[in-house]
């Protein structure tokens, strides 16, 4: 599945401030953006907020969009950045409160929050144990179906970096899922 794109004329209308032109873009991407945020952050409330922030950032930043790249990958980058910023803010807050070992606590809590919510919780909990940079690559590739090249464009990193992050992320995911199955048995 390639990244969905948006007609140029619609984007131009949005840049000119036409909010009605932004509505179909929101409709087109709301699912993918929310799914990305949901699996990046591990719970629905944070995903709702992050999705809003990402679309708002896109609306306000459209003037800086260059038409050489695809709008979809640009929007994904907004979404990933918003999620990473939220995770960093959370980590800083936790570090101030707990001192060292905050990273582990964050991962554990993210896993715990993911566990609590409905079907597919094992996958969300396993994803929550990954480094956020690996998690972003895995989600964009396996859940959104982007090619390595598109993931690289969305994250602003070389394709080789994407390849190694996906490989390492999947190895960690494999181990986490095995632990989960072991614990559940």
């Amino acid at each position: 599945m390639a990244v969905k794109d948006v007609p140029r004329e619609r984007l131009v209308r949005c840049i000119e401030g036409d909010q009605d032109a932004f509505a179909p873009i929101y409709e087109q991407f709301k699912g993918t953006m929310h799914t990305l945020a949901y699996h990046m952050l591990g719970n629905r409330a944070d995903a709702d907020e992050a999705t809003q922030e990402a679309f708002l950032a896109a609306w306000r930043g459209l003037g800086a969009f260059r038409f050489e790249s695809g709008f979809g990958t640009w929007l994904y980058r907004m979404g990933v950045n918003v999620c990473l910023e939220r995770l960093q803010r959370e980590a800083r807050r936790r570090a101030l409160r707990n001192g060292h070992g905050a990273g582990l606590a964050r991962a554990a809590e993210a896993a715990a929050r993911a566990e609590a919510e409905g079907p597919g919780a094992d996958v969300r909990a396993a994803l929550a144990t990954l480094d956020p940079a690996y998690r972003a690559c895995i989600i964009l590739r396996d859940l959104e179906g982007l090619s390595y090249q598109e993931v690289a464009e969305a994250l602003g990193v070389p394709v080789g970096t994407v390849r190694s992050r996906i490989a390492r992320g999947r190895e960690a995911l494999r181990a986490a899922l095995r632990d989960w199955e072991g614990a559940g048995a």
Partner: protein, 165 residues
């Protein structure tokens, strides 16, 4: 060695994201290596689990909320608070104070040696009570041979340049 090379590429081979030659090498190895084949199978299962993970969507009222926020003006970028300008007279006062301090120190240092302060130590081979101008006119004292050579060379250069003119 081959195992390590292949393992690093198992994940990309699942996605078909390897160059053709590397892909072929991985496939050949996996066909005869049960350990690497098993590893790739477990990676495939991990990938399938993520692919099957639930998709989600924002609540229906989210668009209305977003639209309201789009209409609202963007919050100003956070900047450090501007520094308060000091009135001109404080700068003038500071400058006058600095000048006065300089004048007093010059007066005390050159003219007198107040009790409690150590008198300035005269350099070796230089008679005491000499002015700065006299110090400049004096020959340098005990220069190292290399510096002397440099000075000689410079003087020679200046002389020859003068002669050319």
């Amino acid at each position: 060695m081959m195992h390590l090379w292949v393992r690093r590429r198992l994940s990309a081979s699942l996605d078909g994201e390897l160059p053709a030659r590397a892909m072929l090498a991985v496939e050949r190895h996996v066909a005869r290596c049960p350990r690497c084949a098993g590893r790739r199978e477990s990676l495939r299962r991990a990938r399938a689990a993520v692919q099957a993970a639930a998709r989600s969507a924002p609540p229906p009222e989210a668009w209305v909320r977003l639209r309201d926020r789009m209409v609202a003006p963007a919050p100003p970028a956070t900047r450090p608070a501007p520094r308060r300008r000091r009135p001109a007279w404080t700068l003038a006062g500071a400058a006058a104070g600095a000048l006065a301090a300089l004048g007093v120190s010059l007066y005390l240092g050159l003219g007198r040696s107040p009790s409690g302060l150590r008198p300035p130590v005269a350099p070796r081979n230089v008679p005491s009570f000499v002015t700065t101008a006299e110090l400049v006119d004096q020959e340098p004292v005990s220069l190292s041979p290399s510096i002397e050579l440099l000075l000689v060379a410079r003087e020679d250069g200046e002389t020859s340049a003068g002669e050319e003119r």
